[in-house]
Amino acid sequence: MLTEQSAYTTRWRSVSPVAKGFFSLCGMVAAFAAGSPRTALLIALILSAATIFGAGIPAVRYLRVAAPPLLFLAASGLSLLVSLDFGSPTSAASLHLAESEFPRIAQVCSRSLACLTALLFLALTTPLSDIISLLRRCRLPDTLLDLMTLCYRTLFVLSEVVHETITAQSARLGYSTFTISLRSLGGLVTNLIVQVWQRSLTLHLAAQARNNDGALRFLENSFADSPRNISIAATAGGLTVLLAVMLP
């Protein structure tokens, strides 16, 4: 929801998604082109600065959105760093710090971090409906995009249903003890499955009523000065990649 809110309120809402998508792509290319962890970290810094200062996403919100993937990154970094050894003759199992692997792990983690900031840039500045129409222009299969459109819309409808059901269950003491909670949760899931099924039927009727015969077609948003935006994004993206290649 935070990502969603940012994408709709950012300063760069009216900037063409092509421009933002291209800059994000350049960021990822730069992340892979970076020769050292230091360069990758610099790329990450540039991309997050573009998101925070350029697009005007509050730093606190940026960190909150970034926190879960960062946790994953930290966990995987740690698991790469430490290895469990069962073959030691002195004890049953022992932990080893893979010191020799350190440069490689630093490289992987810094690169992932830079990729993450590139993706966050796109996610925090572009609403999903714009991203979907961008992907449509990139000739991604229609079925996949229709699924994305419906999932995205249904996500909000169903989260409301879940919220209402939980409130209604709590109002009748549905979550008062552990056993009752489990039963209520089961009821919630069952109810949700039935609702999804019913809603898919009504959605199909509604599509028919508006003359639909298969693929979901929508008007794409037009963006005022996209040639200018795209050239700015291309220059900025190009420079980022160049920086990554030039630096050791």
Binding site: L128, Y152, F156, V157, T202, L205, R210, N211, F218, N221
Partner: protein
């Protein structure tokens, strides 16, 4: 002169599970009229609406557009559905895209119109329901009433001749009902035929040119509200009488006749005006 636009001729419909939802229904909807369809839950209102848009096909009988039986071929349905716009009761069950403008464009895009034309029709539809300012907002941040307006815009963008709305007022607060009434009135003035299903007797009595009363899938009555809704049988089945009609009748029992050229007030404001006029008449010697 009556000018039939949609007609049901002896239509019956059974759902696959055997439920008889419509039973030998014959009725006519005239061009440019405002029709209210009344009936208890499960009376067959929604089933009837699904027939008007060609989504359901009668088990027996036929549905006609301008006196010609519907053509259920792909091309025929395409034509019918661009002429008869259908809006369902729950907005969350019919909004496909998370973006307002995108969703409104869904119908015209399905008609295969050119992009410039779609864009124009979408903007006009948004303007007609007063949602232009919210066109770039995500659907899930809109209020229930705004979602309903987006649904109406989605249908209007297809430029239909008939607008069929299933309980458009349900779940709306008084202010939003008033806004929707204004929108419907504007559409009616522009020549659109409007059919709504409602449980609100008072609204139907004041708004509609014609009412259709359904009872367990059968047509109970069809005609001018001032006649139909005052019939005893209809009152018994619907369990109520429009409040304005009841007040006028009670007043007439104590000798206050609010009739203006044989015409009883139909809305609250009409009633208040009639009472004020009557009081003035009494005051002048």
């Amino acid at each position: 002169m009556s000018d039939s636009i949609l007609k049901l001729e002896d239509v019956s419909y059974r759902y696959p599970d055997g439920t008889r939802a419509l039973d030998s229904c014959s009725l006519t909807i005239n061009r440019g009229t405002r029709t209210a369809v009344l009936g208890a839950n499960g009376a067959g209102k929604t089933t009837m609406f699904l027939h008007l848009n060609g989504i359901l096909r009668p088990s027996s009988g036929r549905v006609c557009w301008e006196e010609t039986a519907l053509d259920y071929s792909r091309g025929g349905m395409r034509k019918l559905r661009s002429r008869v716009g259908l809006m369902f009761q729950n907005p969350d069950n019919q909004l496909f895209s998370a973006s307002v403008r995108e969703d409104v464009s869904f119908g015209p895009m399905n008609l295969g119109l050119e992009e410039a034309i779609v864009r124009k029709q979408v903007e006009e539809a948004l303007l007609a329901v007063g949602m232009t300012d919210s066109a770039d907002r995500p659907v899930h941040n809109l209020s229930y009433g705004q979602k309903k307006r987006v649904c109406i815009a989605g249908v209007l963008a297809m430029r239909p001749e008939v607008l069929v709305l299933d309980e458009p007022m349900a779940g709306l607060d008084a202010a939003m009902q008033e806004e929707l009434t204004v929108i419907l009135e504007r559409l009616h003035t522009s020549g659109m035929t409007i059919v709504i299903a409602t449980h609100d007797l008072d609204y139907a009595y004041g708004w509609a040119d014609e009412v259709i009363v359904l009872q367990s899938g059968r047509l109970l009555a069809n005609g001018v509200p001032a006649e139909i809704l005052l019939q005893e049988e209809v009152q018994n089945k619907l369990g109520a009488i429009p409040l304005v009609a009841e007040i006028s009748r009670s007043l007439s029992l104590i000798g206050i006749d609010l009739r203006d050229k044989e015409y009883l007030p139909r809305s609250k404001s009409d009633l208040l005006k009639a009472i004020a006029a009557y009081t003035r008449l009494e005051a002048t010697p």
